[in-house]
């Protein structure tokens, strides 16, 4: 602890400013406004839908509700999330040196569930639709005019299971660590080849060497905020680090192609 004191002393002024700003922000936002009762815990009390409401009819301030919420254990939350994915492949070029693989953006959406063990630790599992797209371009000087490329769109169903390490109170920071399993559902390729100048988009035909089972590690960060007592909104970014080669292991020669996927998005959860 003593080791941190110089840092805290040196930055004390900024820490105080940050703390005040955080508290001020929470009050400034409409959802935190005491006058906005319809979105506050009071409606929950009336209809008996909030945890606080189940406890009784007494009114507590919005801030106290949330503070209490965050300090409780054994809560469930479920919600939806969506955003964008950015995927790139880690792969051997082989001798095809003029092939360049670029990352590509895609869509990302799903449902999420969390069980809070402690104020600082939850377990989270999602069911996600994630696109793991990437583009290939031929860079051979003799082929520049042909604009040869293949843009791959790959559809995955992912199930990450993560520990959600949480810090803070009103606006809370999250660190996610875990693993995921996934299935490669389908894909499309949009191609320009030496034989078709107009981009041709076709469904990807799986081959016997395609490994449609995916899995690996997942990690990320997020920030959450409870605009209403039983609603939690989060912004988060995660990286899915695949440990599964998209090509099945072969007896003699092996080609490796691993996906790396960053997803960024928003989620909204209902806290039971």
């Amino acid at each position: 602890m003593n080791r941190h004191l110089p840092f805290m002393r040196r930055n004390r002024r900024w820490l105080v400013v940050a703390a005040i700003a955080l508290l001020g922000l929470s009050d400034a936002l409409p959802a935190f406004s005491q006058s906005n009762e319809i979105r506050s815990g009071r409606i929950g009390i009336e209809f008996g839908k909030s945890r606080y409401g189940r406890k009784g009819s007494q009114y507590k301030s919005r801030r106290n509700n949330i503070m209490e919420n965050n300090s409780k254990m054994g809560f469930w939350s479920v919600g939806i999330l969506g955003g964008a994915s950015f995927n790139w492949q880690t792969r051997e070029a082989g001798y095809a040196y003029d092939r360049t693989f670029d990352g590509a953006w895609g869509a990302h959406a799903g449902v999420t569930g969390t069980y809070m063990f402690f104020d600082w630790l939850s377990i989270r599992a999602d069911i996600l639709y994630t696109q793991k797209n990437y583009n290939m371009r031929r860079m051979h000087p003799a082929l520049q005019e042909l604009n040869i490329h293949s843009n791959y769109t790959n559809h995955y169903l992912q199930v990450p299971v993560m520990a959600d390490w949480t810090f803070g109170s009103l606006v809370r920071a999250h660190i996610f660590t875990g693993a995921y399993g996934a299935a490669w559902l389908s894909g499309e390729a949009a191609r320009v080849t030496p034989f078709n100048k107009d981009e041709l988009k076709t469904k990807y035909q799986f081959t016997p060497e395609d490994n449609r089972a995916d899995g690996g590690l997942v990690g990320g960060v997020g920030i959450s905020w409870d605009p209403i007592y039983y609603i939690r909104i989060s912004a988060e970014a995660m990286i899915f680090y695949s440990l599964a080669n998209t090509v099945k292991r072969q007896p003699v020669m092996n080609d490796t192609r691993y996906n790396n996927t960053i997803v960024i998005g928003l989620s909204a959860r209902y806290v039971f």
């Binding site: 293949s150 390729a189 191609r191 080849t193 030496p194 078709n196 041709l200 080609d255």
Partner: protein, 408 residues
């Protein structure tokens, strides 16, 4: 703090290390990868080149990994024998190993040229030819140029054709003939190779070449412009192939709208199954003044084929077969439809090695799948009306074609 960073680095290394690395893929056309001095090295170069450059792995039943495991010790044994006794393998042994490896490969364009690494004695294999020779309708048949030349001359003497002339351009030959049926005409062309574009743009240098070019022009003129045309016969029997661009003459001249006759795909990477999707192959119509829409005119177009209709010789047959008035008569063809692209920078497959070096493999660059068919590489295109030479010689299919046109 440093300790923590070390732990983090260690964990990161472990995680990243969980991704097994791939093998190193050598460019089979890089001379450095052909600088071997042993039979095993030669086998490795051949096996790896085939592994990445062979375009039919998706269609082939050959277990190429099993081939590696089975054959590697046998080539190592050759090296051991040479090292201990200085003995090189005899032709039958050496050729037998390569023949065994390639016996079930589908690519019928394939030829494999290898030199004994110690004696430089050359060996040449045609796995596709070996397969075709074993077909029951091929055994005992003569598909030489002399055989079909004799047969075509016989068409004139027997009255199957009313007249005709031979043309010659280098090693290529053609024959243009006419069969008069009352006041109508059937236009007949036999051609040994498809080099029509090249021939029509060439200044003839001999009488034979003049006749060769004139035969092509006469056949096209008769087919496109003659009011008394009853039907067309294109004879691709014993045709050894050529330029696919010639489809514009033998098909594009006879259609009123573009014909999507096949789909093509090739490999866009080093992976064995790293294919593009199927790309439509379309034959465009030629200029209106140079074509006749056979469907609109209701004129039959017969293409004759046999087991030695090879490559463009059978691609043209497969395309004509798809025309509304088209009909293919004869035998199932050779089965070499994979197209060849000579620009090695374009694709990641096809021929590899060094023609003047210790090994060279001539192989297709693209898979061809005719419309409404599976990939017929190694199988051949089946005719609409089967007439086997083993039953009726070269005349049988010709007679059938004329009867068909007359009755159309």
């Amino acid at each position: 703090m440093k300790q923590k960073l070390l732990y983090i680095a260690l964990i990161a290394t472990l995680v990243i290390g969980c991704r097994p690395k791939g093998d190193i893929y050598f460019d089979p056309n890089d001379p450095m990868n052909m600088a071997y001095t042993t039979y095993t090295g030669q086998f490795e170069a051949f096996w790896r080149g085939m592994n990445t450059h062979y375009v039919f792995w998706s269609e082939d039943s050959t277990d190429w990994d099993a081939v590696y495991k089975d054959m590697l010790p046998r080539f190592q044994e050759l090296d051991t024998t040479y090292a201990t006794s200085g003995t090189t393998p005899d032709s039958a042994t050496f050729a037998g190993l390569y023949a065994e490896m390639t016996a079930t490969l589908r690519d019928h364009h394939m030829s494999i040229q290898v030199l004994d690494v110690h004696t430089n004695k050359p060996f040449l294999f045609y796995p596709g030819v070996a397969e075709v020779k074993q077909r029951d309708y091929v055994v005992g048949q003569n598909y030489s140029f002399e055989a079909i030349q004799t047969a075509i001359n016989g068409f004139v003497s027997s009255g199957l054709l009313s007249s005709g002339t031979w043309g010659e351009m280098g090693e290529q030959h053609n024959f243009f003939g006419i069969r008069n049926v009352d006041d109508k005409k059937i236009a007949y062309l036999w051609i040994s190779n498809f080099q029509i574009s090249q021939a029509l743009s060439k200044e003839p240098e001999s009488e034979g070449e003049t006749a060769y070019i004139q035969n092509l022009r006469s056949w096209l003129d008769l087919c496109i412009k003659d009011e008394n045309l009853l039907g067309i016969i294109l004879d691709t029997r014993c045709n050894l192939g050529g330029k696919v661009e010639d489809l514009k003459y033998v098909v594009g001249s006879f259609i009123g709208k573009p014909l999507h006759y096949a789909d093509l795909r090739y490999k866009e990477g080093v992976g064995r199954y790293e294919y593009t999707d199927w790309i439509p192959a379309i034959i465009d119509t030629v200029a209106a003044e140079n074509r006749r829409d056979l469907e609109a005119s209701n004129i039959p177009y017969v293409v004759l084929s046999n087991a030695m209709s090879i490559s463009m010789g059978e691609i043209s047959a497969a395309a004509i077969k798809q025309l509304p008035t088209g009909c293919m008569i004869g035998e199932r063809t050779f089965g070499a439809h994979g197209q060849i692209v000579s620009n090695s920078a374009l694709l990641h497959d096809g021929s590899f090695g060094d023609k003047d070096g210790l090994h060279y493999v001539y192989t297709s660059s693209m898979q061809t799948r005719f419309r409404g068919e599976e990939v017929l590489e190694g199988i051949g295109v089946s005719p609409d009306k089967s007439v086997l030479q083993v039953e009726s010689g070269y005349d049988g299919a010709m007679e059938k074609a004329i009867d068909y046109i007359k009755a159309y």
